[in-house]
């Protein structure tokens, strides 16, 4: 049988929330609940930042041999609108989420042609169940030029190789 791999979101603790049956919402609070609470407010000037979102691969059923080559990428198109962006950085371990500028890289520059290496710090191959590879920390920025209202959904892809 093939392995089962999930995307988990870490909020407040390193124990994550399985996002198999949900999505991810950037907000002004440190939790993994995708609701309409704790909305990001457009600032009068400059930018504000959401609480960061740590995402990590979780292997819930083990592979026959191993899992390796974890990669993550966007669709390359920021459809959130003017003044709204997503930045990211990578970590080997979880640390508390923050709502100040992480100074990361524009997530939308990472596409299928140039994916993010998600096992650069915690290197594979991985043979067992549990959290594997690196954590990607995502953060939404909202500038004073943004328009109010709900944004459209954006795609994130996690890829892995299995033998």
């Amino acid at each position: 049988m093939a392995a089962t791999v999930q995307i988990h979101e870490m909020s407040a603790t390193a124990t994550g929330t399985d996002k198999t049956a949900g999505n991810i919402r950037f907000k002004a609070a440190d939790n993994a609940t995708a609701d309409a609470n704790d909305r990001l407010q457009i600032p009068a000037a400059a930018s504000i930042y959401s609480y960061t979102k740590y995402l990590r691969a979780y292997v819930s059923s083990a592979p026959s041999v191993d899992i390796s080559n974890l990669r993550c990428y966007s669709d390359g198109s920021n459809d959130y609108g003017v003044g709204i962006g997503i930045q990211y950085d990578l970590a080997g371990t979880f640390s508390a989420n923050i709502n100040t500028d992480i100074g990361g890289t524009d997530f939308f520059t990472k596409t299928a042609g140039s994916p993010i290496d998600m096992d650069a710090i915690n290197t594979g191959p991985f043979t067992s169940t549990g959290y594997k590879g690196d954590l990607i920390r995502l953060q939404m920025s909202v500038a004073s030029t943004a328009s109010p209202g709900l944004t459209s959904n954006e795609a994130i892809t996690l890829a892995y190789d299995e033998t």
Binding site: A2, A3, T4, N23, S64, I156, Y160
Partner: protein
Amino acid sequence: MEPSEVYVWEMETDNGTVIKQVDDDGVEHRRDEVDPHVVVRFTLKPRQKGSPLPSHSAIVDHEKQERYVRSFGRGFIKDLGLAGYGLKEYVNCVETSFYRLWVFSNGQCLTTNPGFEVYI
């Protein structure tokens, strides 16, 4: 059926032995049980009997110094809409010293050079 379960592999060695991912007794085998140096054929077959999906084979020509290198599956976890994040596609790949053959879960395939990566 999950995309990762659509195809099963089968390898034939240079002495005619055929090793199936799931043998006739239902026992599942690991790819690393087979010495890659002796593989002369790698085939992906639909797991379900009677499936309309095609089988795909890579024939390894040892006389032309071609060698089987490895095979693997590549999973793609994406937003499935209301169902949240899940396995959207699973592409099987067999790599020889000459090329890579990528087989998608809908039966389509793609041949690339050995160093090429497929991300969708």
